[in-house]
Amino acid sequence: MEAAAPPQGMRGRPLNLPDISIIGVVDGHLTDDRSDAYRDRLEFREVELALQGFIYPQMRADVFLALHKHEDEYDAEICEAKAGFLRLAEGLSAEVGKIHVNFGKLNKMHTHHRPMIDQPQALTGFFGDHGLIGQGGTASYLFPLPFYLQAEGGVWRAPAHHHHAEGAAEVADLSGNTVNAAVYEESEEFSMSGELFTGRLKASFAPTAKSELEIGTSLAAGHGSHYTHHKDKAMVSAVDLTFRVWPSSYAKWTLQNEWLHLSRKVPPGNLERDGFYSYLSYRFDKHLDLGGRFDYAEGAWPVRSFERSFSAIAGYHLTETSAVRLQYKVRGMDDKTVHEGWLQLAFGLGPHSHELE
């Protein structure tokens, strides 16, 4: 009897080869911020090599190796490398390895797969430039209900940052009392590190045949990346809401919102910080989409700071993995306003796939 053609991810089986694909990203960045040493450049930012396939019935491996541009160097890293158990029990699956944590709507998506070039500041401010990535494991359960409801929990270890103490000083805590505390050089980036616990609950409904409403809530609890110095416990909670409408075969409206709240307990007191973004886009046809995003993000540091920005984003999609994007962003920070622009070409070779987002 003739056999069915295998789906992607199982193609290489006769030769025992996985699906192999490459994503390349070329970025141009213009800004009037003269403090940005890497402004006004057009350069190859990232290349990602993906090796994907089944390793056993109901078990697959996805390895994404990346060469990223960091300042003036290209660094090689394992972007993600995970083994997935698709069905441990009815509705239950799990993944182990180095994984983009399923937190909110954007964190799990690889940057080239997102509908925008930069990352919303709320995610960068609370999770760092690369988002929340952990080494560990996660399990998710899809409830047997008439509507989509999935719960997920993960245990992770994320890398810490290194920096140096500059001595001790009398500083005012958040209540106005003077305390003696170590003063450390703050890096520009806050993120979570060490042992982390994450959870996500996501529900989705189809109000009509051509619309979808997704609501999610996420939690990450653990330590700040400077824990050894700051002894900071950190927790980020988030709510996301996405509404998509398909008025015709190709046209699509997307309204996507994420709100994140950081609670950071440091010896002088508790920091409570918020950040959110709201993204609205319209896809005109198979190729062209236009959108706008508003961001508000508070810094994760004791000194209260914030950033507001508005971005206009255009994308022209040649294929599912190849696109040209343009983005203009005006950023209002504490003491200055910065105008930035990006041009990005992302191209894909081979059968590249990501799980349902």
């Binding site: 069905r87 699956s93 008439p146 398909w246 198979k286």
Partner: protein, 306 residues
């Protein structure tokens, strides 16, 4: 007692599969949904993951579709990489009954005599080429015999006790199909040798069945939007060869086709390629009735179309 009834009602609401013992089928297209209903009859509950007015190459997987696959006993798909979007849904549904190789996995293309199987190297320079061959096989209605055989086998694997009923339903369908094929052959007799331009390369099976000659496509290559230079070349070739009919599916952009029609004087016909592709196209046979009627009308309008 009242409390027990309420609990039972709540259970049925939350777990609808328990409310009736029908075999639950998810189909990736409305055509496969319709054909599965024809074979399964009253014993199956079929849901399509897409709608008939969608470009089946370009369906966006959504969480609500996951639930249709999660509760399915059988998945019927077109295969041949046309509905690749279903792969992420199958993985997300975590339903062992419908994964590749499971008894509930039905690839409707198995056994189809495929056309345009690429030979040699295939890459994106050729456009959106399907490596296993042209996947629009359901547009030859005679292929429904093979499709329904695959569906029958899948339904029997899922519900062996209803094998006789499924087989009988399929026999009834094949008899109806046979009658329709004769009717369509008569209707299409005047279309033999008709030179036809289509938007996408999706009508090769249809053309072979009804003796239509495919002259070219509005798309320069599959999935690539038409460029002005391609359209100019196509217009010039159409004028030279006297091609007077252009056919496009309902979901494709009409601008390029309309421009070519205006410049060549050709008749532009917009047709459904699936059940539900236009209002009133409620069944698989309606698709061919509609397409053939449009073509016959177009040929009638442009009497020198062949």
């Amino acid at each position: 007692m009242k409390r027990t009834s309420r609990l039972a009602a709540l259970f049925c609401l939350l777990f609808p599969a328990a409310a009736w013992a029908k075999l639950r089928v998810a189909a990736t297209t409305t055509d496969l949904e319709w054909l599965t209903e024809a074979v399964g009859g009253e014993s199956v509950e079929v849901e399509s993951l897409s709608t008939g007015d969608q470009d089946i190459h370009f369906v966006e997987p959504r969480p609500s579709m996951v639930m249709r696959l999660k509760r399915a006993d059988v998945l019927v798909r077109t295969g041949l990489d046309l509905d690749m979007w279903a792969d992420s849904l199958v993985a997300a549904a975590r339903n062992g009954k419908v994964v590749y190789g499971a008894p509930g996995y039905v690839d409707a293309s198995v056994g189809i005599e495929l056309l345009q199987i690429p030979v040699g190297k295939v890459d994106a320079a050729m456009g959106d080429i399907h490596v296993f061959g042209n996947p629009h096989y359901w547009l030859d209605p005679a292929n429904a015999a093979v499709i329904t055989k695959n569906i029958l086998d899948g339904l029997v694997r899922g519900d062996p006790k209803n094998e006789a009923a499924f087989t009988e339903n399929r026999e009834r369908f094949l008899a109806a199909l046979d009658a329709k094929l004769k009717e369509w052959d008569l209707k299409a007799a005047g279309l033999k040798g008709l030179k036809l331009v289509t938007y996408h390369n999706s009508w090769v099976y249809f053309a072979k069945r009804f003796g239509v000659e495919l002259f070219g496509n509005i798309e320069p290559k599959p999935g690539i939007p038409p460029s002005p230079s391609h359209l100019e070349r196509l217009i010039s070739m159409m004028k030279e060869d006297g091609v007077r009919v252009i056919m496009a599916e309902t979901y494709y952009p009409v601008k390029g086709s309309k421009m070519v029609a205006e410049k060549t004087g050709a008749e532009l016909v917009i047709v459904p390629s699936s059940v539900g592709g236009l209002p009133g196209i409620k069944g698989y046979f309606d698709v061919f009735d509609c397409v053939l009627n449009h073509l016959v009308d177009a040929v009638g309008v442009k009497g020198d179309a062949r």
